[in-house]
Symmetry: C2
Subunit: 147 residues, 2 copies
């Protein structure tokens, strides 16, 4: 199995409300959508985010879905400048998101914070000076600072 992810799927109890945050609030353009059922957004080179009716995800995989707020999953959005962390979190809040952790110095030597989408799904926003993406997409990441 080659190491790649094509789609990140979030099960939403109210796709129209989740769509308002990402599409109307953040201004992300859908690739394809079926009203009240699913919305696909591009979130990287060859990667989509799917906002899918939670019950449909549960039925499709044959496994129930619980609450999003305590899901042990998050995604990170890494930015290029330290100040951008607070700017992005403010933009997410203005779009209808919730600030989970304001921008602050991070244990890894940069700056980070978290916001949640309307369903409680957590996004980390981080400036990590050890994170680097080459032109060909290769990621490199320095280890944590000593001590």
């Amino acid at each position: 199995m080659d190491p790649y992810v094509s789609i990140i799927t979030l099960g939403s109890p109210d796709v129209a409300a989740t769509r308002r945050f990402y599409v109307d609030g953040l201004g992300w353009a859908p690739i394809m959508e079926v009203p009240d059922e699913v919305v696909f957004l591009q979130v990287g080179h060859g990667v989509a985010l799917a906002l899918w009716r939670a019950e449909a995800l549960a039925e499709d995989r044959g496994r129930p879905v619980g609450a999003m707020a305590d899901a042990p999953v998050a995604v990170a959005h890494n930015v290029g400048r330290a100040e951008e962390v607070a700017e992005v979190i403010a933009a997410a809040e203005a779009a209808g998101g919730t600030v989970v952790k304001p921008a602050a110095p991070a244990f890894f030597g940069g700056v980070q914070g978290y916001f949640a989408d309307p369903d409680g799904f957590c996004w980390e926003v981080a400036w990590n000076p050890g994170w680097h993406v080459s032109a060909d997409g290769t990621v490199s990441l320095a280890g944590p600072p000593p001590g």
Copy 2:
């Protein structure tokens, strides 16, 4: 906020065990790791998967983590041939994963199935004839079949 994801983070109760599945089982090479704490794997152009100690994720975001098995989140791994769906699910099972749904015709007109990693995180494996990624990484996706 630009539409992109840098890292997909999974909170694991036992990072060494989760690492065995992805690194020893599937053969994915870590970008960087701190034993029993975190493992980073590349899973796309500019995208990493982080297997992070669940308690550390909870502390970092200031929000507790629940069970992975019912998290309303999944990722999809789209393949190029219908037969590849069963092959990938078999490889995941051989690596220590659990078959959640065997390969079968999908509602979207292709073939799909699901497996779970040792923590219960769900991967969909799909051949979707409507999914296309251009050389520049742009995703296009045809709508569902009529009827």
